[in-house]
């Protein structure tokens, strides 16, 4: 029997800060940032939101779409680089809040921006091995950028959640991972903000891993770029996924539906998962989707999904990605500094 995504759901906080507003404070050229990054604004969490709360909201939407008894979930894995606790798994709170029961495997995952897709692979493996009936994989982040750093224009907050199991709305046809020791972006224990290797994050890091994982998966499944209706890559900015898609031979219309980065920024572990949710919101039965994440350090997980007719009955059971993107309130840099606790009192 086919295994894949049984239910999906995302959550994007309501607040936004625009690239214009950040550039106004730092005296930089907003137009060149907007053109270079292809990002207009980014999602900012409220003061009472963190990776746990946004994971619960996304998880609820995924369970609503799946329409299953939450007690049948046998594993919950949350991938994030902004778990609220250093010691005390986010998954324990999320499992309790979602009413998943106590006979459940829980662990928090960390692999920069691809921890959420690593969680999806683990759930897939456990379902395939018949160890669990359903698994819940969540990619969520309330990411931080150092004030004034290039990352500050994009580091955003959002979560994507997927119930993995049988009778899917999108069958997982195959997955492939590509991993090397490449230090393009990191954060040492106890540090507030990450560091990065500036331009080094491009060719030897993002592009090498995203392109390799995608190519190797297509080879494994004997598929070519034209076999896919939609693609989504990790979106650290708008430019990187568009360039990767060109290198691999995809057309712009294939990337459009999941291209959420322009309006919400880069929610790290939530980036490609939210992009996939946006695609599933619009996909038709028979559509094939390629998703490739990227996590610094560095690695990529690539997946091929085939949408089934189950999408038609389950899609409207929960709020859609576009609902969250449109429900927004813009804030200024002063409020942003207060909310993100950048002000030390």
């Amino acid at each position: 029997m086919d295994i894949g995504i049984v239910g999906y759901g995302c959550y994007i906080p309501r607040l936004r800060i625009s690239v214009d507003e950040i550039a106004r404070v730092w005296g930089t050229d907003a137009e060149s940032f907007k053109k270079g990054l292809i990002v207009e604004e980014k999602a900012v969490p409220e003061m009472d939101e963190d990776t746990i709360t946004i994971s619960v909201e996304a998880g609820r939407n995924a369970l609503l779409r799946a329409g299953i008894d939450p007690k049948k979930i046998g594993a919950v894995y949350i991938g994030s680089e902004s778990h609220p606790y250093a010691v005390k798994p986010s998954g324990t709170v999320v499992a309790e809040a979602l009413g998943l029961g106590e006979n459940i495997m829980v662990a928090d995952f960390e692999f920069a921006c691809k921890a959420g897709t690593a969680a999806m692979q683990c759930c897939y493996g456990l379902v395939k091995a018949r160890e669990i009936e359903y698994g819940l994989a969540i990619g969520a982040d309330t990411s931080q950028g150092r004030p004034g750093d290039a990352l500050e224009y994009t580091a955003a907050a959002a979560a994507g959640a997927f119930v993995i199991g049988k009778d899917p709305l999108a069958t997982l046809e195959g997955t492939h991972s590509y991993t090397t020791d490449t230090s393009d972006f990191w954060r040492r224990e106890g540090e507030d903000y990450p560091s990065h290797g500036a331009r080094f994050t491009g060719k030897p890091a993002y592009f090498k891993h995203v392109v390799s994982a995608s190519k190797l998966l297509m080879e494994k499944l004997s598929l070519k770029p034209s076999d896919f209706n939609h693609i989504v890559f990790h979106m650290p900015n708008g430019k990187f996924p568009l360039t990767a898609s060109k290198i691999l031979g995809f057309k712009n219309e294939q990337i459009e539906q999941g291209f959420v980065v322009k309006r919400i920024g880069n929610p790290y572990s939530g980036s490609s998962p939210v992009g996939l949710c946006a695609i599933l919101d619009a996909a038709k039965p028979g559509d094939r989707i390629l998703m490739t994440s990227y996590g610094s350090g560095a690695g990529s997980d690539s997946f091929s999904f085939m949408v089934t007719d189950k999408i038609l009955e389950r899609r409207d059971r929960a709020k859609k990605t576009e609902d969250y993107i449109k429900n927004k309130k813009n804030i200024d840099y002063g409020v942003y500094v207060k909310l993100r606790r950048k002000l030390k009192i």
């Binding site: 309501r14 009472d48 709360t53």
Partner: protein, 134 residues
Amino acid sequence: MPYKSSVPLFWRLKKSKYNLIGTKCNTCDKVFFPKKSLCPNCRRRGNLDDFQFSGKGKIVSFTVIRVPPEGFEKYAPYAAAIIELDEGARLSGQIVGDFSKVETGKPVRAVFRKINEDGNEGLINYGLKWELSE
């Protein structure tokens, strides 16, 4: 190191705080939140079971908190309301978002948020707040 809030106290209440699980009396069909161990209407004839509320309701009354209690300073000003759940029970809670849009009678839905934090080293307590439904 002792913390200001009680770790076991919050832990004992987490099922109702996270999930809106109350009780329903199978004799008189009344629902209660938080949980009751005895139906106040039916007394010994009562028969209570756990009851999962849907998380939807409406604002019965509210106030805007401008001088908040300790631990809630960063949220002020915010609205605190009495909410009547669709199934019948009433409870109090914090309304998230723009307090100027809060009005009596408006529909709300439960959202999962941080309630308070015990400093930088203590626990983060989570629970339900309320958001105006669109």
